[in-house]
Amino acid sequence: MDLSTIYTQLIMEHNKSAHNRRELESPDLRQRGHNPSCGDDITLDIKLEGGIIRDASFHGHGCAISQASTSIMIDLIKEKTVGDALNLVNTFIGMIKKEISDEEILEKLEDAIAFQNISNMPARVKCAVLAWHTLREAIA
């Protein structure tokens, strides 16, 4: 397996970047997500305004895949409606499960498309989807 399809520059940059890593003051939604088997543990904070995600952030710890996936997801969902965000979650999970491969649909995921190859590393799929499942729990 080619590591460079997983540990891409984009994912590494998001792993190191701190721009979404903070606690929001009085968030409207706060949701913790946890992979008990490996210990990845993140908390999403979300600020809503009229059904639109005005701000979002995360805190916690985990591997590069889980941290980058969370950060990329937050960039993607800001200023989106809750309904659009839910659709993006479903598209992302569909992509990971290889159920969605239509490039036009996947384009909506923007940078998150970087995780398309994660199923080549089965042990890490749960790291990539943690934030997305957590978001779904928070807003669905």
């Binding site: 397996m1 590591l3 997983i6 540990y7 590494m12 792993n15 190191k16 088997s37 490996c38 210990g39 990845d40 543990d41 710890h61 985990g62 591997c63 590069a64 895949i65 941290q67 590393m121 042990a123 890490r124 790291c127």
Partner: protein, 412 residues
């Protein structure tokens, strides 16, 4: 490195010929499970082909053969840990089941309100959860002994926690995270002086160091076959005969009875009282073959060899500035198991990247969440050795670690 015929040992393990991601397999996950030599694989195959029947039931050729095989395995285990008699050797599914048996049968009968159960903070969940239940049901108190910053257990901590109120001390002989080999003989003597019994989890120690339950004076001692080159699905519970005799059976059913009436039953003598249902004879055959394999090499030789290998790995790892080692940093204080973290890298990334170079390690909390919380780290990487590992494997690991840093965007 020692007098062992190492190239011959390695040839006994077919798995070690595997190529993983186009690299030679470097198997460093022996703390989780070990690979099996041909001697074990062949013994199990030969049992399946020529001796398989249901033991202890029915007087026919194969039943008799299977019974013989099962009894030979019992004797091999007895001799391996120097128990007095095979009545003291119970076969279970694994060390976890052995610990559950002790907690449910002995613990529930003998721990009472306000009694204390003392554990080590580094225990595997399998030696914590059964005692949590006993403590909750019996309204007893669960106490922990804490290790120092080198992963050792200070004498003062033992004396502080084990008291006249202590009924049971349950602890690992060797930590599956820190690698520390604890002074169990001293702890057992001290606990006995306070009237407490001691349960030793030997899952990590038994494959690597000489265990003599008589000399240790352990009340209970458990281990699993698959960590000593045997098959999965069979484990051992050693208990002192008078304790086992006083305990109620854990599982009820076939083969563990004497007489069964409509409303009541009497139970078979030891060890059958604790072996309900058809037992894992395949596993027992494999376990015996594994013990014979260890005996042929000599357990002392295994200990000595692994100490040299661990010392070499520690020296190399300690010289890398971005590596932190958890637990003892000198080989004499530990078994062949090293937990470490790489600065700025999560252990799961480490394990995934090492795997692409064919190096098998373990990452995570190692079923020891209370210890992780105490150490204030979410996870570690763990490399654990066995007799078939070499200095070359350690060198591959070190090379792999440099690659991990590189992949994550740090200069090595």
């Amino acid at each position: 490195m020692s007098d062992l015929n190492h190239s011959k040992i390695i040839k006994d393990f077919p798995t070690l010929d595997l190529k993983v991601n186009n690299h030679r397999l470097v198997y460093l996950d022996n703390g989780a499970t070990t690979q099996r030599p041909l001697q074990v694989i062949n013994a199990m195959r030969s049992y399946a082909e020529g001796s398989h029947g249901n033991p202890h039931r029915g007087a026919h050729f194969l039943s008799t053969k299977a019974t013989e095989e099962y009894e030979l395995a019992k004797e091999a285990v007895r001799n391996f840990i120097n128990a007095k008699s095979t009545e003291e050797i119970i076969f279970t599914k694994n060390a976890t089941e052995s610990l559950n048996l002790i907690a449910n049968s002995y613990g529930m009968e003998n721990v009472h309100k306000e009694n204390e159960i003392v554990l080590l903070i580094s225990e595997h969940h399998s030696n914590i959860l059964p005692w949590q239940r006993v403590a909750r049901v019996k309204e007893a108190v669960l106490k922990y002994m804490y290790v120092d910053d080198q992963g050792r257990l200070p004498l003062e901590e033992i004396e502080r926690k084990i008291s006249d109120k202590t009924r049971i001390v349950a602890m690992a002989h060797m930590s599956n995270v820190l690698g520390t080999i604890f002074p169990v003989k001293e702890i057992i003597d001290y606990a006995h002086s306070k009237g407490a019994l001691v349960v030793i989890d030997g899952a990590q120690s038994t494959p690597h160091i000489k265990v003599d339950v008589k000399e240790l004076d352990a009340d209970f001692f458990v281990f699993s076959a698959h960590k000593l080159m045997g098959p999965m699905g069979i484990g051992v519970l050693y208990g002192k005969k008078d304790l086992l005799e006083s305990m109620p059976p854990f599982l009820l059913g076939g083969d563990m009875i004497e007489y069964v009436y409509e409303q009541e039953a009497t139970f078979a003598p030891l060890p059958f009282k604790f072996e309900a249902g058809t037992q894992n004879v395949d596993g027992a055959v494999g376990l015996r073959a594994a013990i014979e394999y260890i005996n042929k090499i000599g357990i002392e030789n295994i200990t000595a060899y692994e100490r040299i290998l661990t010392g070499y790995a520690l020296e190399k790892l300690l010289s890398i500035p971005y590596i932190r080692i958890q637990g003892p940093k000198i080989a004499e204080d530990k078994g062949g198991l090293i937990s470490f973290t790489i600065d700025d890298v999560h252990p799961h990334d480490t394990a995934s990247i090492l795997d692409t170079y064919g190096i098998a390690t373990r990452a995570g909390h190692h079923c020891a969440q209370p210890l992780m919380r105490y150490l204030d780290i979410p996870a570690t990487s763990r490399a654990s050795f066995y007799i078939y590992n070499t200095k070359d494997d350690v060198d591959q690991l070190l090379e792999g670690i440099k690659n991990v840093r590189k992949w994550l965007g740090y200069g090595s």
